[in-house]
Subunit: 256 residues, 2 copies
């Protein structure tokens, strides 16, 4: 149906990194912005990214191609390229989220009790290994002390983090930046046992509603570590208490 | 690195359908088989499919292209095509699952208590609306009566199903057929409120371990219905009690 992909120029910012690796959710949000531009709908509502090679900070190309432009939703294929090699391969759905919509049923969501934002200390932007986590100087990650023993050297073993997330300059979240939000927290495995880098292999995000202004509440948890891989599920609620995004990822982890 | 996609001929079986629509997990498994053929590793371990158009039963083409062939894993892009139109667009990771591996940590998994297989009646292969569910005559879906009130017209409202799944002819599961297993159960929303067809928009499966022979235990649950879309998470344990696959999907649902 199309004449091949459209090419966009973009730049991976050196401050949205962990060590020298760009954050996976940040890269997915870059692809989400392009998908909204080439589709006929403004909001990414589902997005899956496969991380083939970590791009270096700096110039990249993004190729995007609508697979189908429907009445209520479009599907878009997008990839990030550097040095003529695929870095991230993604598929997305765009649609238009209705500001008047309301949840119909939500009894299956996890409990998300956590301390108020002001009672959650901001994460110190450095790993125990000494690696600089530049991205944490950009975004504000505040972890509930009851769910982040690892920051005091005493992981609870529950494999679950709870806390708050805010964008730089008090910028409000939108459907594109929610694609980042589902990968903004440290690995939930840190609350089991500290390991080195936990590279995202695959990340899927669903954007379920338009977020109200303000910081978002985040719950991130692991279910299983097997064969040096871990799943992590992430839930994001807006300041009005509505579930606005869900994420799930498969990551590599040097445990076991 | 590659000279473009390789094309495979395949056939969507008319008996692996709900009404006239092929099952989404079945289509993903078809793509998984091709991904294993074009990569350098035998087992799909992660796979995401976006359902653009439902193919009719019959001949399809599958185009598959390795994005990167790594030492321990490969990434593959694959798509199913009919009448020169994209039906399913997918990205997959293949690797080699180690038969000697064991879970390192699994405290985050849901409780999966359910009745023995023999105490779970086989699902009657017809929807309340009268639509024939041909696929249920192929595979054996047995639902725990405590978790399937909808089969007696009395959904519990919990949005969760539990039960057992077996392949035709007592065929054993493998990593490819586990891609099907995460979408084999009826929609978990039936246990909230019956609606018509619940079309899968996106499905991601992780294969976490090689399954032991025998039927698998399945837990499928919904978390949130909002804007006529629902997420569903699926967990699959093998006959030895090991978690072997996880799925998550976003589907359309006519509720709300």
């Amino acid at each position: 149906m199309s004449g091949g992909p459209l090419r966009f120029a973009a730049s991976v910012h050196e401050e949205w990194t962990i060590g020298d690796k760009p954050n996976g959710g940040y890269l997915l949000a870059m692809l989400g912005r392009v998908a909204a531009a080439v589709g006929t709908h403004p909001h990414p509502i589902a997005a899956s990214a496969y991380y083939v090679r970590a791009p270096r900070p700096g110039r990249v190309a993004i190729d995007a191609e609508p697979l189908r432009k429907g009445r209520s939703a479009s599907q878009v294929r997008a990839r990030m390229i550097q040095d003529e090699q695929v870095c991230v391969e993604a598929i997305l759905i765009t649609s238009e989220l209705d500001p008047a919509a309301a949840p119909y049923w939500q009894a299956g969501l996890p409990d998300a009790d956590m301390r108020d934002c002001a009672d959650c200390p901001r994460l110190i932007p450095r790993l125990p290994s000494g690696v600089r986590v530049a991205i944490m100087e950009q975004v504000e990650v505040r972890l509930d002390p009851d769910w982040s023993g690892f920051t005091r050297g005493a992981p609870s073993g529950r494999g679950e983090l709870r806390g708050w997330l805010a964008l730089p300059g008090e910028k409000h979240f939108d459907p594109v930046s929610l694609l980042f939000a589902v990968d903004a927290f440290p690995p939930a495995t840190f609350e089991i046992e500290f390991s080195g880098w936990v590279p995202t292999l695959e990340l899927t995000a669903y954007v379920r509603a338009l977020p109200a202004p303000g910081p978002v509440r985040v719950l991130q948890r692991a279910e299983l570590i097997d064969s040096q891989r871990v799943d992590e599920s992430c839930y994001v609620w807006d300041s009005a208490g509505r579930l606005v995004a869900q994420g799930r990822q498969l990551a590599g982890v040097r445990l076991g």
